[in-house]
């Protein structure tokens, strides 16, 4: 079943066309990598899917729900880790999770259980009563990740989840992403990290200048391009060198 479908997603900021008629499908239970250089339109694409930017043209469907027609219902199906963690500095780690859990309609019992579980898994239990302002970058990122999977939504959208994070925290986050997908959930991952894509993703889309350069499995991409090094393939696609062959 298709978990996420982007249908001709287009976003213009004034004269600047940030994303041009982007279409792709993400199957349920897979990890989908969104790759591209800075300013390629990855974050804008994700933002249109998770409903904080309105597409100029086109739409997206999450678990069959149109994000333009029914944004609230669509948001119920998604957990999001935005580019900036967005944790509240004056709230404690626990309060940050309580806030989002309650906004997502979780009842007290389930919320208590889930927060305890997530803080344990992500080694944040001793930071439970510490204000987020005092957490390290890695701890904040883990907290934001915990927030995104709090009510176990069927689709998880992650924008650079390991960027600027220490090795140990990045490792924990990657492990959680893998486990989340194994449990049958869908993950869309925007990243610069080639190694991360190679290791985690089932399928990938490469975007450059707001345009889709490639969409398919990483194995297919390697075969079509005839190269072993993933980074080389990425660079060539972004430059437009192998567009004809790849797409």
């Amino acid at each position: 079943m298709v978990a996420v479908e982007a249908i001709s997603l287009t976003k213009a900021f004034g004269d600047l066309l940030a994303v041009r008629k982007l279409s792709f499908r993400v199957e349920e239970g897979t990890i989908f990598g969104l790759l591209g250089p800075n300013g390629a339109g990855k974050t804008t694409t994700l933002r249109m899917i998770y409903g904080v930017l309105k597409p100029t043209y086109g739409t997206a469907k999450v678990m069959g729900v149109d994000v333009r027609e029914n944004p609230i219902e669509a948001k119920r199906k998604m957990g999001v880790l935005p580019e900036d963690t967005g944790v509240y500095p004056r709230l404690t780690a626990e309060e940050n999770l309580v806030y989002f859990g309650k906004l997502r309609g979780m009842d007290e019992e389930r919320l208590r259980k889930r927060i305890k579980e997530l803080l344990d898994i992500l080694n944040l239990t001793e930071k439970r009563f510490v204000v987020a302002d005092k957490l390290s970058r890695g701890q904040k990122q883990k907290l934001a990740f915990a927030r995104a999977i709090l009510d176990e939504p069927p689709v998880l959208l992650l924008d650079e989840p390991t960027l600027g994070v220490d090795v140990m925290s990045a490792r924990e986050i990657r492990k959680m992403i893998e486990e989340y997908a194994i449990s049958g959930k869908t993950v869309i991952l925007s990243t610069h990290n080639m190694w991360e894509v190679e290791r985690l993703c089932d399928r990938i889309a490469i975007i450059s200048e707001g345009t889709l350069r490639y969409e398919g499995s990483k194995e297919d991409l390697r075969r079509i391009a005839g190269k072993r090094e993933f980074e080389d393939i990425f660079v060539r696609l972004v430059r437009g060198e192998v567009i004809e062959k790849a797409v």
Binding site: L53, P82, D84, G86, P89, T92, K102
Partner: protein, 431 residues
């Protein structure tokens, strides 16, 4: 100060219990948002300092300090009476009697020495010179001349002048009464015209000066506090969230912008009410100090008349409705400005400017000519001030009250719509 809120490890010490309350909140998104906003506000040292603690300390000082400092009872001024005319000792003794009521410290001398040096050094606040021939002039029906030496820039000198002139005036009236008696003339003979003021009010009841001042100033003050208290919180809730980059994550939740705004609005109203009450409470403390330090004749009759049941109902209603409408309107305006601004700093500038715009009509209403009133009743913000005024001064004029009330409600709806519109824009997150 930092440790008051959290330890060096960042573990929260206070409001921890309130934080835990979040678990048991009912599933109303606006209530959850309001809970978080209040929690954050209590954890923000700057906000609490500026909006609650500072007014509570500053307001009583600002209001009571000048009155306290100018009250002769707080620090009695030092007065030196130089009696060059020995027969002028009667008047000197009258001035010396001020010491009995602790209104002055008086010394009587026959030779004052260097007047300028004494006054400028602050050793004496006022020198009253009773020159030779003073009594002779009084007893022969002429004018007795007193000479005051004082520092025009010194507040204590002015206070001393005030108390001495009161004594001298009473003494002068007594001399005048004796003179008139001696030639068989009544006081009416030298006062050919006496003015009689008749108060014209819509209620048909008279009012004391204190009542009028209190009735005019109190609703305006309450309205001002309600309108201006919200600015700091509104900036933090909208522009602050954007600057801390938490808005984007917030908007990913399955909650409408309307619900989020409602929660922020609710918290803003509660916080501005706390701030307003703190300011009002401290202002009343200041006024209390000021009244206590005023002389008894001035303080008497200023407030108690308002407590008459018929006036009390209108006063209470006027204050409550003004606070509610003023607070909500102010909050809507502040949220609109904070949503429109691109940065925290820009929001502060807009809010500062708007606060001024909101304050001016409130302050100006008591001084506006009567002919402007119909227009002022339908203009933004001034309609609110006019409503407050009409409830106290014109409780019988229901048409005027209804006009200003309806206009105020309509403006509130417009500002609310505008704030929702601004908060719903994409640029509220991304500038």
């Amino acid at each position: 100060m930092r440790k008051l809120f959290k330890g060096s490890s960042g573990v929260v010490k206070i409001s921890k219990g309130f934080g835990q309350k979040g678990y048991s909140l009912p599933p109303k998104p606006w209530l959850v948002v309001a809970w978080k906003e209040v929690l954050e506000a209590f954890r923000d040292r700057r906000t609490m300092l500026n909006v609650v603690l500072l007014p509570m300390i500053l307001m009583p000082l600002v209001i009571s300090l000048p009155t306290l400092m100018l009250s002769p009872k707080t620090i009695p001024p030092k007065i030196m009476v130089v009696v060059e005319d020995p027969r002028g000792m009667d008047l000197a003794k009258e001035i010396e009697a001020l010491e009995n009521s602790s209104e002055a410290l008086v010394s009587i001398v026959t030779d004052g020495g260097n007047y300028t040096g004494l006054v400028l050094s602050g050793d004496v606040d006022l020198i009253v010179d009773i020159p030779e021939g003073f009594y002779e002039n009084l007893s022969s029906g002429k004018t007795g001349r007193l000479i005051y030496y004082y520092d025009p820039y010194g507040a204590r000198s002015s206070v001393a002048m005030g108390v001495v002139q009161r004594v001298v005036s009473e003494y002068s009236e007594e001399v005048l009464r004796r003179r008139l008696e001696a030639i068989n003339l009544s006081e009416e003979y030298i006062k050919p015209i006496v003015s009689v003021a008749v108060q014209v009010t819509s209620t048909g009841e008279g009012a004391t000066t204190g009542e009028v001042v209190t009735a005019m100033v109190l609703p305006m003050m309450v309205g001002l506090i309600a309108i201006t208290g919200a600015g700091t919180f509104a900036i933090d809730m909208i522009a602050g969230e954007r600057e801390r980059k938490t808005l984007e994550a917030l908007f990913t939740n399955p909650v409408s912008r309307g619900q989020l705004l409602l929660g922020k609005f609710g918290a803003l109203t509660l916080l501005s009410l706390i701030s307003g009450l703190a300011t009002l409470f401290s202002a009343l403390i200041g006024v209390g100090f000021a009244i206590t330090s005023m002389s008894e004749s001035l303080a008497a009759g200023s407030v108690p008349q308002l407590m008459e049941p018929s006036r009390l109902l209108y006063l209470t209603l006027g204050i409550l409705i003004t606070v509610a409408l003023g607070g909500l309107t102010g909050n809507a305006v502040m949220i609109t400005a904070a949503s429109f601004a691109k940065t925290f700093k820009e929001a502060q500038q807009y809010v500062g400017f708007l606060t001024l715009i909101l304050v001016v009509p409130m302050v100006a209403i008591p001084y506006a000519p009567q002919s402007f009133h119909p227009v002022l009743r339908v203009l933004p913000i001034s309609s609110l001030a006019m409503f407050a005024r009409d409830m106290i001064v014109n409780p019988g004029d229901l048409g005027a009250i209804a006009t200003s009330l309806i206009a105020s409600i309509l403006y509130l709806i417009v500002f609310l719509w505008l704030s929702a519109k601004m908060f719903g824009r994409e640029s509220v997150i991304f500038c």
